[in-house]
Amino acid sequence: MGHNAAIFYIITLLVYGGVDALACLGLSIQFGVAGVTNFGFIIFQAAGAYAAGVLSMPGDSANGGFQSYIAGLDLPFPLPWIGAAVVGGLLALPFTLLVGKRLRGDFAAVGLLVAAVMANLLVTNYRPLFNGSAGLSLVPAPLQDSFDPQSTGYQWGYCGAVILLAALVYYLLHRLTESPYGRTLRAMRDNDVVADSLGKNVLSLRLSMLVLGGAIAGLSGGILVGFINLWAPSGWGYAETVVLFAAVIIGGAGNHKGAILGAILVPLGFLEASRFIPPFGSPGLIPALQWVAIGLLIIGFIWFRPQGILPEKRRVNIGFVLPGPQRPERLPGSSTKVATLCRRCRVPPGPQPRLRGPGVRCFASTRVSPRFHPNTGTAR
């Protein structure tokens, strides 16, 4: 592999990794945090990709009219990416019916899966929509009029933009998850009927999560189609959703860092590594075995380590006694409230006498800190 080819390969991996991380983050907030099992997740990414495609492409009479698709608005960057996120989010609205009060949990998941299959069949067989099974090609790269998309500089820039967007989405989702709103989402995940009876509008929460996750998935699709310049139904079958679920489960459902790790390990790492397996058996055997391996990975993790590699962290309040061996101690005469906790709550210098034995509350209610810190204890 030549130098330029190696750089291109690395950039491609990074872009794919960023796109997969975005998609897994979208699924992480839906499934890992809010408990909405969206087996139709891939159609939101596909919708974003198609939206970005037809928003950035000229009318379908261009290029000899060999393609047939709607819109063709020839919009400049970044409108196609914004449009991708908006379309991904808006697509969630009709699916509210599937995750509403009448259809919940596993039934809603199956409903979404069927919707994904139907959407794929529709796009494949109705050519005027997005050029049928052949899909869209010659999708313009962002800013291709100003820069050369084939240049290394452009590709590094593209890569940087993807990683930056993934980091921004991670930051926003982290902010959501570690707030009272995130706590409500996790409560809904654990028991939606009880959350409802405590004044939480479960339908609205589910809709919000479908829209948010859909917008993130749509954005990831828009970014991907701008990089690979084509998009076809064969690339977003329902099985692709399984890969994303595998990533989130293996990385650690409910932990956004786990979702990113899963994106690196499964869609990127695992599938990429299997490309280097020497060919054997009949043609198509290795790709088929990839799917078998993905399935076995999911089963294995659900069986042996359901919390994933990076489990969801317990949110402990530093004003109270911690469960297990890590117990906080109060420092008499000190304004510092906690002596021994997680890495962020380091023990200050100086003498640290133990006040009372374990199992004793550390602080009066008026002195309880409102800050939650994830400790190193793992979720069950």
Binding site: L176, S179, N191, S197, L198, N317, F320, R371
Partner: protein, 249 residues
Amino acid sequence: MLEAVELTRHFNGVPAVAGVSFPLVNGRLTGLIGPNGAGKSTTLAMLAGTLPVSSGSIRYLGQDITAMPAYKRARRGLVRTFQLASEFKRLTVLENLLSAVPSQPGDSMRGALLGRRYWSAGEEQAIAEATTMLERFDLTKYANHYAGDLSGGQRRLVEIMRALMAAPTVLLLDEPMAGVHPHLAREIGHQLVALCEEGMTILMVEHELSIMDEFCDPVVVMAEGAVLAQGTMGELRNRSEVVEAYLVG
């Protein structure tokens, strides 16, 4: 305060509750007893909005709330607990309590995105309330434990505390003493009476008659989906139909 008027509920044509009517007395701990299958939990679920009614109506604070969804009833102070322990298993005890606090600034997507500075004051106040509640029920040392890791009785307490954190005007308790140590059950009973003296109205489904004897007044007896009798436990013990249907049945 809260009144059930001719409530009925059918499951595939089979009546579970048939024409139940009773008002809840303000500031009192009302008991609801009856044999298994009498329709107590179904009635409570209809009052809370968890189950829709087949017919009849529910009035709360002078308003017909029959068609109002459960979450809106809870926001207006009509809060329930469940027959089976229903803690949020993967939330800590403290988080369980905080999850019920109404109108928190950070409990919306906008509020959450505005950041900790926007909602930390409200959160601190909620934690202070939760701390008081944990002290009241002597569960402070379990604040950072996952609720799913607690014993059955402790989980019951978490559920009751959580319902109280929702600032209810009317509290509907479905067998809150089930699985709780008798000594602790009496402690809970005293706490509930104290809450009623502070102005809360409580309806409690319970099987333990000694609890009813000691804490509930009045008591509503249901049998076969209908209200059989109402009164104090002393009065009910003298009613032959009650004795026949439940007390010795």
